[in-house]
Amino acid sequence: MTAYSFEVLVSLKPGLSDPQGRAVEGSLPALGWTNVADVRVGTHIRFTVDAADEPAARAQVAQMAERLLSNPVIEDYRIIGEPSL
């Protein structure tokens, strides 16, 4: 078994209001940044999975993202393997 590192990035679906994103965007001009747009704030979950191989690990991560880490009614997710951090 090997420990594989993953990150799952979860964000609200396009078209849904994003109060945190709006707040960040609203505070930027006062700090002198007027050239930023489309701010969306989401969640970012990092963890390791023990698995026989990478595809097995990745399949499990997709399941976890689908069932627990995101709410498919309002959120999309994206998986990143082996982060550089």
Binding site: L12, K13, G15, L16, S17, P19, Q20, R22, A23, T43, I45, L68, L69, N71, V73, I74
Partner: protein, 236 residues
């Protein structure tokens, strides 16, 4: 307690906070409050189920995201499918949405701040499990207290929800007007509570269990509990 007193179960999840308050409200309104435990595979023959407010699992990750996997939720799903009355209050509402028992979802308040204050709700339909003692258009005073109570749904889902009349409560003025000034969290279309198609599963963000005792608050929650008890009674 007579044999015909309806039994209303209140589920305690780790992090539930208003579970005792919901049990007390049930008793105040003449029902028998039955504590239920999240890990139990048993609803103890209750006639209605309340998922109370609070911060189950700290509201970590997303409100209700972890609680929906509790063992007792399998029983709640079956109970709801058989037409049993189910009421989700605040965190309970969030858990029902996460479980797919109710449409939509609840996200951070537009203000990004927790808000605790009395609000007015306009009743939108009188045939759900908690509004059968009410008529559409009535206005109730009930407190809210939440940080993540902004109801959202995808545009297609929202249209369907409105078409099918699944909205049970909207935030309104004392006179019943739905507008931004009386919306405590930015909920789309002022939606404070919704139900499933059959009307037996209802969720709302405001706290009717904190609106039954006139010594400590408004009393707009009384008709919700009397309706719930009537719905439960029908199953005794």
């Amino acid at each position: 307690m007579s044999a015909t007193t309806p039994r209303v179960g209140v589920i305690t999840f780790p992090g539930s906070l208003d579970d005792r308050d919901a049990l007390r409200a049930v008793e105040t309104m003449g029902g028998a409050g039955i504590p239920l435990w999240h890990a139990d595979a048993d609803l103890h023959e209750v006639d209605a189920v309340v998922l109370p407010g609070g911060f189950s699992y700290g509201d970590y990750l997303r409100c209700g995201a972890i609680a929906r996997f509790a063992r007792v939720m399998d029983e709640v799903r079956g109970f709801a499918a058989r037409g049993g009355p189910v009421l989700g209050i605040c965190n309970g509402f969030q858990i029902l949405c996460e479980s797919g028992l109710l449409p939509g979802a609840l996200i951070r308040n537009a203000s990004l701040r927790f808000v605790c204050r009395p609000v007015h709700l306009r009743v939108e339909r009188s045939d759900s499990a908690v509004t059968r003692d009410l008529v559409a258009g009535e206005v109730l005073e009930i407190p809210v207290k939440h940080g993540e109570g902004q109801f959202v749904a995808r545009p297609d889902e929202l249209a369907l929800l409105e078409d099918e009349g699944l909205v049970v409560f909207r935030y309104a003025s004392q006179g019943g007007e739905v507008d931004a000034a009386h919306n405590p969290n930015g909920a789309v279309a002022g939606i404070a509570g919704v139900c499933n198609r059959a009307g037996n599963v209802v969720g709302l963000m405001p706290h009717p269990e904190h609106a039954v005792d006139p010594d400590v608050g408004p009393v707009g929650g009384q008709p919700l509990f009397s309706s719930l008890l009537a719905a439960a009674m029908a199953r005794v």
